[in-house]
Structure formats: structure tokens, C-alpha cells
Amino acid sequence: MSQGSTAKPLLAGAGTRKSRTKEELIRFVLFLCAFLSILTTLSIIAILAWEAYSFFREVRVLDFLSGTRWTPLLEPRSFGVLPLVAGTLQIVIGASLIAIPVGLASAIYLAEFASAGVRRALKPVLEILAGIPTVVYGYFALTFVTPLIAAIFPQTQIFNAASASIVVGIMVLPMTASLCDDALRAVPESLRQGAFALGATQFEVTLRVVLPAALSGVMASFVLAASRAIGETMAVTLAAGATPKMTMNPLESIQTMTAYIVQVSLGDTPVGTVEYQTIFAVATLLFAITLSMNIIAHRVLARFREVYE
């Protein structure tokens, strides 16, 4: 009976105190799981910093960052990272040449032209493309794209930057398209209608109104895509080669930062030697570059979203 309970005081009894402790415990465990992400970041930074520190006691930072010869495993050893950076840059530029125009055009089609039905059909295709493992793209580059390029340019080497660039471009394409699509769709409908009301055609509206309004979001998408391309590993390991060199010829074999790290970890370089520690120095550089690009892009995106909310 409800009347019976009216006599009971409201103060927490022993039972509720126990359940409150249990609640606090659960809350704490959940918090730990969330906090794990911070620990992960700290561990990455700590490990890279520590190992890179031992490396830079042997090799001067300036020699590392400005040297143009990368031969840590061969005599005479040289620790200039620029050839790896150049190789990575070549892949990023090549991939961007594909992913940026194709991704943006697809996004424009999806956001401005396509019907809801077409969107529903195309989006899953992009998702599937995005879900294909990178080792598959590496295989594709090696056994399909390279022979294709070689058929056109006979001087093409078996391992070359061009085919790796192409597949990396295809790989980051879905991400570019979907981020650009988000940015374009964030532009309010009123802006488009205003332009249409002035007699603009769809092409003019898209190019002169929507795209400029979405520009910072679109640019941020490009930065995120480039950062992804920099970190891409297996496709370039399989297809781009293992020849660190400063070249801009896409038909030659090169080596990226990521591919170098894989090469060392597959080899039998003794742990603890300065040769081995090169992978941490290179990884630190890789991490610093991608992280700063991501942070900048996320900042820009956050500000972009604020404008249209």
C-alpha cells in the first residue's frame, strides 16, 4: 500500500548506499575505457619520442631532415630522409591528381545533380571501394596497373611511383568524395535558390555559389585525403619499390616513408642498432606530418560547420 511507505524517511538507507557505490564503480570503469584513447595517444608519442631520441643522439637532426641520401643499411651509411619524403610526396601528388578532381566531381554530382535513388545506388559502391583492403590495391597496382602503364610507356620499371599513385588515388577517392559531399550539402538551400532566382543556371550556381560557400570544407577534405595517402603503406610497399631516390619521374622505382618502415621490419636488422632505430625516426616524422594535417583539417571543418548551423 502506498500509504504504508509514506512513513519511511527519504534519507539513503544501506541498500541505496550500496547501489550508489556500484554506480560509481561502473562510471569509473566506463571512464577508464574512454580514457584509454588518451593513453593510446600518449603511448604513441612517448614511444616515438623515446626511440627517436636515441636515434638523434647518433644522427644530427639537421642531417636527417636535410640530407639527400638515404642509405642507412649500406656502407657508407647516410641518414638523409629527403629521398623518402620525396617518394612520399610523389605518391601524394599523384594520388591527389586523381582523387581531388574525381572525388570533387563525384561529390558535385551526388550533392547537386543526382536523384535520391541514384544517391542510394552510388553511396554503397563508394563504401565498398572504401572497404577494400590496401593490400588488395597493392596487388591490383602490381598486376594490372603497372602492365597497363608499361604497355604505353615501355621504359616503365616493374616497381614505379605511377601505378602506386593511381591505386592510392583510387583508395582515397571514396573518402574525398564523401567528405566533399558533406561539405556541399552543408551549404543552405536558400543560397542556391537565391542564385536560381537571379536566373543562374545549375552550372553557374554550383561553380559560383555552392563551391565558394563550401570551399573551406572542400579544402579540409583534400587535406584529410592527402594525409591518408601519406600514411598509406601496403599498396606503395608492393608497387612503388624500395629505391629511395630524389626523382620526379613517375615511371621509376622509389620508396616512401611507410614502405621503408615495412622493409626494415621485414628484414633482419638487429634491434637496438641505429639502423633499426631509423624506423622510429621516420615514423615520428610520418606521425608529425599526418597529425598536424589532421588537426588543421578538423579545425577548419569544425569552423565550417559552425558557419552553417
Binding site: 574512454a34 584513447s37 598486376t143 615495412v262 622510429f280 606521425f287
Partner: protein, 286 residues
């Protein structure tokens, strides 16, 4: 003349539209070419023996038994660790966390972690799990590495699913004298479950295809046994594919293609499951 100009402007729009459409549909063409190429190369090798034999120096005798089992072990362990931890983190951030600096920091941090190259996670796993915790090149070390790699993906997806649960359900539960955990566990979580599952499946399918972190922690490239416990050495499907693809002989390339077919079918099945769960939830839910 002005009508001429207008006609030209419309023609430009039509041309532009056609161009964008062609480019967008090129995605399908690429996908088709890739699938066709892989199938044409690999189909010859894809038979029962391919699934039940260990890798070998002789292409005719080579199979993916150890790789397949390694992947099963790896993904099972990864799922077992990453799902509870990831969902718990999402619950904390979505249902518990006060909106303060720390939770904001955690949020931004998770976004950034999602963008860290997978090879960096490999280095983390190598130093932290293989060496520091002395787990060696074991399935467990691999799973822990994969867990850290896909946690951001799971957390982000699970948070979205939790956010989609209407507040009225939480309020109903609280008004009945439920504690926060009781409300979350019995009322909010079941409603969010399909969304969470979808995200988890997509995250796990990423883990199945990841290669670089496994190479880093030293998953072996030649393994002629099936792991029997979490501390055993292992290889995995993408590692085996990588190994075959990086050999010069044509036959091994074709074996790689056959391995890719198995990998892609697995991923396709997982994707289909995710889509099925999503649609079923949409049909039965409000």
C-alpha cells in the same frame, strides 16, 4: 544574341552534369575491373584444397589454412576486446560524461586517433605489446594492436547510435527510479544495438584487411600450423596475400588473387550482414 547565350549556358550545364555523372559512375567501373581482374587471375586456384592446405614453396600445393585460422583467431580476440571497451567508452562519452574540458579533449583525441596511419599503430603494438609486455609475436599481441586501431571507429559509430536513441526513453527510465546504468543497460542500449552492431561489423571488417600493423608486429609470413591459443604465433590472410604478391613468379601472384577472393567474399558477407541488420532495425523500430 541573348537567347543564343542562354542556350549556350544551358549546354554548359548539361555538359558539366554529364562529366560529373561519368566521373561518379567511374567508381563502379573501377570496382568492376578490379573484381574481374582478381577473379580471372585467381579462380583457377580457388578450390577446397586451397582452403585446407598450408602454404608451400610449390604453388600447386599451397593453401591458406594457417592464414585463415590466424585471421579467425585474430578477429575473434579483437572483437572480444574491442567491442566491450569501445561500447563502454561510447557510453561514457554519450551518457555519462559531464561536458567539461577533459571529455572535450577525449573527443578531439578520438577523432585524431582515427586518422593516425595504421603503420604507426603497428609500431605502438611492436614496442608496447610484443616487447614491453613480452607477449611476443602472438595472436594476442596482434589482437591488442588491432583493438587500438579500430577502437576510434567503434567508439564513433557507437556514439552515433546512442545519440539516435530519443531522450524520452531515458526520461521514462529515470522517472521510474532507474539509476543511470540501469537506464542505459536495459533501455537505451537495446534500442541502440542495431546501430552499434553495424558500426562494429564495419570496424571489424577493417581489421580483417589491415596488413601493415601485422607486418610491423612481426606476424610471420610462413606459418605451417594453426594457432591453438592466444599466445601462439600466427599469420593472417592479408599477410599471406602480401607475401605471395611480393614474389616475382606469376603463379604466386595468382595464388594472391585467390586469397584476395576469399578475403573479399568474407568482407562482402560482413557488409551484407551490416546492411541486413540496419534494414531490419529500420523495419521493426519506430
Amino acid at each position: 544574341m541573348s537567347s543564343d547565350r542562354l542556350r549556350r549556358r544551358h549546354a554548359v550545364t548539361r555538359g558539366f552534369r554529364l562529366l560529373c555523372a561519368a566521373v561518379a559512375w567511374a567508381g563502379i567501373v573501377i570496382l568492376a575491373v578490379l573484381l574481374f581482374h582478381v577473379t580471372r587471375e585467381g579462380i583457377r586456384w580457388l578450390d577446397l584444397q586451397f582452403l585446407t592446405e598450408f602454404p608451400s614453396r610449390f604453388p600447386e600445393q599451397a593453401g591458406i589454412k594457417s592464414a585463415l585460422w590466424g585471421t579467425v583467431w585474430l578477429i575473434t580476440l579483437t572483437a572480444g576486446i574491442s567491442i566491450p571497451v569501445g561500447v563502454a567508452a561510447a557510453i561514457y562519452l554519450e551518457e555519462y560524461s559531464p561536458r567539461n574540458r577533459l571529455s572535450q579533449l577525449i573527443e578531439v583525441n578520438i577523432g585524431n586517433l582515427a586518422g593516425v596511419p595504421s603503420i604507426v599503430y603497428g609500431i605502438l603494438g611492436l614496442v608496447l605489446f610484443v616487447r614491453f609486455l613480452a607477449l611476443g609475436r602472438s595472436v594476442l599481441a596482434g589482437s591488442l594492436t588491432m583493438t587500438l586501431l579500430i577502437l576510434p571507429v567503434i567508439i564513433i559509430a557507437a556514439r552515433e547510435a546512442l545519440r539516435a536513441v530519443p531522450d524520452s526513453i531515458r526520461h521514462a527510465a529515470f522517472a521510474l527510479g532507474a539509476t543511470r546504468w540501469q537506464a542505459v543497460r536495459s533501455q537505451v542500449l537495446p534500442v541502440a544495438l542495431p546501430g552499434i552492431l553495424t558500426g562494429v561489423i564495419l570496424a571489424l571488417s577493417r581489421a580483417i584487411g589491415e596488413t601493415a600493423p601485422l607486418v610491423m608486429i612481426g606476424a610471420l609470413t610462413y606459418v605451417a600450423f594453426v594457432p591453438e591459443g592466444p599466445m601462439d604465433a600466427f599469420t593472417a590472410l592479408p599477410i599471406q596475400i602480401f607475401n605471395w604478391a611480393s614474389r616475382p613468379q606469376e603463379n604466386f601472384h595468382q595464388l594472391a588473387a585467390a586469397g584476395i577472393m576469399v578475403l573479399l567474399v568474407t568482407l562482402l558477407l560482413m557488409n551484407a550482414t551490416a546492411v541486413w541488420i540496419r534494414q531490419r532495425a529500420e523495419r521493426t523500430g519506430r
